[in-house]
């Protein structure tokens, strides 16, 4: 049985479209059905995946021959787990969405489905123009999801989000077109295929400005330190299921872009700007960690911690070392896996604290909801990269890689590991221990839907902690061409 990536790609959007036309109360569950089917198919893909066999399940058709854009999909060691992660995390998000009452649920489901398709498309695409299409398409559903169903300041937040990210995306569009046109040999037919582009590297000068345009787009998406201005508003205003997938999955598309596009296609520029990117990474780690420590809103703790975690991933990528790259991809998966349950936990905490998500309103919940506390502890420890968790392995690989190439940045970044412990433990203590918040309800995790949504994720975290090789074995972060960058580096 061959795996058709188009099915994985378009199933969620189809389910979302269907949800618009079914009766109101079924809309949410239609989306859930779609995401579960997508996950099932993604697991089949994972089972059929042959480690080390290069690009697999390739679909390659002409889409717009006039522009040289091909509908080209494929899976390799770099995007395999990101696809599975996307398929996996949309399930709890859509269940969490289905359990709530929304205004216009059909439309909500449609945008959630479209969002999943766009994210999957960005991960699966093997053609630069197709990647850009999906990368930009991602914004449309999230623009509406935040703007229509968000908190009070949703319009401001969503406009800021879209303008920030689309400024990056549009610069990337220009860069992508320029990259395709300029690497076309004279008289040749234009192509945006990653494989073809990698064979015709550009001269150093044009690589440099293209690199900066791509880097801007990806760093905004991540977000990394100087370009994170949209983050606090969007995190505060977005509905919980939306911010769950946004933080856990969408933020990975940016850093994935570095590995898929920037490093293989612009190797010289990657070496040239290595120190700049490492500096951005280290500053993001420290800045994110410090701010995560000082937030009172639970969502923003996670928001700033994401900046720090993505800083780590960026560090691994721009160590330009195979180990660092492997650690980076692993950490992308790990971060997604811990952030999703953390957002669910915030939701559960808020239900028990009069709908407030501020840490001031929580406190002392460990006694009143012991199962919730236990789940939270597991996830929190995984987040701070406790030895024995998969995150530990990921961060270790990243630091190994960095020590190999640029030891100074590695040393500074190590401080981030400690800071992560500080802000996660503070988060846990403020909500679970201490004096009981005045409005805290005493009700443990319901065994029905609440636990059912979060338990599988926690089990996966535990399983990967026991057997991280499942990931490590299959991940292959660097395309062969990226080796050139390393060679250039060593010289």
């Amino acid at each position: 049985m061959t795996v058709y990536l188009s099915i994985i790609l378009f199933l969620p959007a189809a389910a979302g479209l269907l949800a618009m036309f079914v009766p109101r109360r079924l809309a949410g569950w239609t989306l859930v059905a779609g995401s579960v089917l997508t996950l099932a198919y993604a697991i089949v893909m994972l089972a059929r995946f042959k480690t080390g066999a290069g690009m697999q399940f390739v679909t390659d058709d002409n889409w717009i021959s006039e522009l040289g854009i091909r509908y080209s999909l494929g899976v390799d060691g770099l995007n395999l787990f990101l696809i599975v992660l996307t398929a996996l995390l949309w399930v709890p998000a859509s269940i969490a969405a289905a359990l709530r009452e929304w205004d216009r649920p059909g439309l909500f489901a449609f945008f959630m489905g479209l969002g999943q398709t766009a994210v999957l498309g960005a991960f699966i695409a093997q053609d630069l123009a197709l990647f850009v299409v999906f990368f930009d398409l991602m914004l449309v559903p999230f623009y509406f999801l935040v703007g229509m169903w968000g908190g009070e300041d949703r319009v401001y937040a969503t406009t800021k989000l879209v303008i920030y990210t689309l400024v990056g995306s549009l610069l990337m569009l220009a860069a992508a077109v320029a990259l395709g046109v300029m690497s076309t040999p004279a008289g040749g037919h234009i192509s945006f295929s990653f494989a073809v582009l990698a064979q015709h590297p550009l001269s150093g000068g044009s690589q440099y400005w293209l690199f900066l345009l791509f880097a801007f787009a990806f760093l905004v998406k991540a977000p990394a330190f100087p370009l994170h201005g949209w983050m606090p508003d969007a995190y505060r205003q977005a509905p919980l299921p939306v911010i769950l997938v946004f933080s856990a999955v969408v933020s990975k598309v940016g850093v994935y872009g570095f590995l898929r596009i920037v490093l293989p296609l612009l190797p010289q520029a990657s070496v040239h700007f290595q120190e700049l990117m490492l500096a951005v990474a280290v500053v993001s780690i420290l800045y994110g960690s410090v701010l995560a420590f000082s937030q009172d809103e639970a969502r923003l703790v996670l928001g700033y911690s994401s900046i720090a975690q993505l800083g780590f991933i960026l560090l691994g990528i721009f160590s330009l070392d195979p180990k660092g790259g492997q650690g980076a991809v692993m950490q992308m998966v790990n971060h997604g896996l811990v952030v999703a349950p953390l957002f669910l936990i915030i939701g559960y905490l808020a239900i028990r604290a009069q709908g407030r998500e501020s840490l001031d309103w929580m406190g002392g919940m460990a006694f009143r909801a012991p199962v919730l506390a236990a789940v939270f502890l597991i996830v929190a420890l995984a987040t701070l990269a406790m030895p024995g968790s998969s995150n530990f392995v990921g961060e270790l690989y990243i630091l190994f890689g960095t020590f190999q190439s640029k030891i100074v940045y590695g040393l500074v970044a190590s401080a981030g590991v400690v800071l992560a412990a500080v802000y996660m433990i503070r988060f846990f203590q403020r909500s679970m221990h201490g004096s009981v918040g005045s409005h805290v309800e005493s009700r443990d995790l319901a065994l029905g839907p609440e636990l059912a949504v979060i338990a599988p994720l926690v089990l996966i975290i535990l399983a990967l902690g026991v057997y991280p090789n499942f990931l490590l074995h299959r991940i292959n972060a660097f395309a062969p061409t990226t080796q050139q960058a390393q060679v250039a580096l060593r010289r």
Partner: protein, 517 residues
């Protein structure tokens, strides 16, 4: 007797009646429409006259398709006009815009006040001018076309005779348009003086050989002609009339002007610069590039502060003209194709947007102001979706035709070594997000309705601006239908753009002097 001798001595031009047949359909249609409207009676005025207009446009579309041969370029009427895919393809856009305008105008005040026959006959006359313009191969034909296009439009702008703004708009357009025409004519005279010829092919040949490209006479001519055409295409800094005229004119006329007139202006800009003056490209390209940049920035910045949707679309039209001008600047076949492609896309997305404005301003107490769209997402999705699609497409989001158009234009600029112009297009798109997204936010994310997630909420349809919302789309089905069709085309060509690319490719074969594949 002598007169007869003279007539016999003059060799009559050979006329290719097949090639000129679309023009006959339009011009003949105009006459028939005008005559038919002399008969009074509700049936004639409400049904027959619009039907005849539609029939004329439909016939013209059919005849145009009949003439379509890829790579074919036939001079007709002794070289005054050329029948090639560029002329035919852009003519199709005029006819489609005309059809949409008929639907938009059918229930309009302007139609009642100015008379159905007059309104539609003038519109057809203007379209006849556009058809001539798109096919012009000669400076004289160019000017005839421009005037035939403009004069009926001056009247149409003022066709809402009891509204002061409409009259003002017509007068303003007349004054500014005349200045533009005069400037253009002056420039054409200079070009003729420098090259000694009015035919485009002969001009192009002369510039290469006999005439130096730095000849001041020629350069003055090009500069004046550029200014004159820039007036018509509302290219900055000659755009100042656009928002006022667009706002004052009856909205169906605005829609027609925004789309068809702009397309016609670009048709002749493409012909004049990429055919007649292509050999002097080194001289005019930097100047046009500067105009494009100014237009992109001025248009986008101007649109940000607008509250009136018509003014906003006018400014956005200025900005879009800047994007398309970039396709002219590069002077390659790819540039020509990209511009033609964008013109088609421009038609779809603007007609969709204008349709919604028309439908709303008839029922909303807020007229064409942004507020008239408030809460439209829940009140009447049939109008909210086309507007959303149009705005996303104008802003260049993927899965819409606007994205493909921008992609094509950027690749043409990079390919022609004008990469920085491509970046300018992108910068313009960023600025444009501010005002396009605001429209979407007003429709879907009404900030007045605050709801906390988790609380069940009754589904309610709010009456929008004093009008029963459910009756709204049904009250003017023809407007909604056109709007939906245009929005569907916008999405369709964003996902399956190949048919449009094939047409653009055919159009690209028209001008032989261009480089490229």
């Amino acid at each position: 007797m002598t007169a007869l001798h003279l007539i016999a001595a003059v060799k009559a031009p050979v006329i290719d009646y097949k090639g000129i047949s679309p023009l006959f359909a339009i011009a003949g249609g105009a006459v028939i429409v005008l005559m038919a409207a002399l008969f009074r009676g509700r049936f004639v005025q409400r049904v027959l006259v619009p039907f005849l207009t539609v029939a004329a446009l439909g016939a013209a579309i059919g005849l145009t398709i009949w003439n379509w041969h890829s790579g074919d370029s036939r001079p007709i009427v002794e070289g005054a006009l050329a029948i090639d895919p560029l002329a035919l393809g852009l003519s199709l856009l005029f006819y489609v815009a005309g059809l949409a305008t008929v639907a938009f105008a059918w229930r309009s005040v302007a139609l009642r006040e100015s008379g159905t026959g007059e309104f539609f006959a003038l519109m057809l006359g203007s379209i006849a001018g556009m058809t001539i313009l798109a096919a012009a191969e000669n400076l004289v034909t160019l000017f005839v076309g421009i005037e035939l296009l403009s004069i009926p439009l001056y009247v149409l702008c003022a066709s809402e005779v009891r509204k002061e703004a409409s009259l003002e708009s017509g007068l303003k357009y007349l004054v500014i348009g005349s200045v533009g025409s005069a400037t253009l004519l002056y420039g054409l005279a200079f070009i003729y003086g420098a090259t000694g010829s009015t035919g485009f092919a002969a001009i192009s040949a002369a510039i290469g050989k006999g005439v130096d490209i730095t000849d001041p006479l020629l350069l003055t001519g090009i500069a004046l002609a550029t200014a004159g055409l820039a007036f018509k295409a509302s290219v900055a800094p000659f755009h100042a009339w656009t928002p006022d005229v667009y706002e004052g004119a009856p909205t169906p006329v605005t829609a027609f002007m925004a789309v068809a007139t702009k397309t016609a202006a670009f048709a002749i800009i493409l012909r004049l610069f990429d055919e007649a003056l292509v050999t002097a490209q080194v001289q005019w390209a930097p100047a046009l590039a500067a105009l494009a940049v100014i237009t992109i920035i001025v248009g986008n910045v101007g649109a940000i502060a607008q509250d009136s949707l018509k003014r906003m679309l006018a400014w956005s039209g200025v900005a879009q003209a800047g994007y398309m001008l970039a396709g002219v600047v590069v002077g390659t076949r790819l540039g020509l194709q990209a511009t033609a492609f964008y013109l088609a896309v421009y038609l779809f997305m603007n007609m969709a947007a204008f349709g919604v404005v028309i439908a709303r301003e008839r029922v909303s107490e807020h007229g064409d102001r942004l507020k008239s769209l408030e809460g439209l997402g829940s009140a009447s999705p049939l109008l909210a979706w086309p507007m959303t699609i149009a705005m996303l497409s104008l802003a260049g989001f993927p899965a819409t035709a606007g994205f493909m158009g921008k992609f094509y234009l950027i690749s043409a600029t990079v390919d022609g070594n004008w990469a920085w112009l491509g970046v300018m297009i992108v910068v313009g798109s960023m600025l444009s997000l501010v005002y396009y997204l605001r429209v979407i936010a007003v429709m879907w994310m009404n900030p007045l309705k605050i709801e906390l997630p988790g609380l069940p909420r009754r589904r309610e349809v709010q009456p929008v601006a004093g009008w029963s919302p459910e009756a709204d789309p049904k009250a003017q089905p023809e407007v909604v239908l056109v709007t939906l069709l245009m929005a569907t085309a916008t999405i369709f060509f964003g996902i399956v753009p190949s048919p449009l690319f094939h047409l653009a490719h055919d159009v690209g074969t028209s001008l032989r002097a261009l480089f490229g594949t």
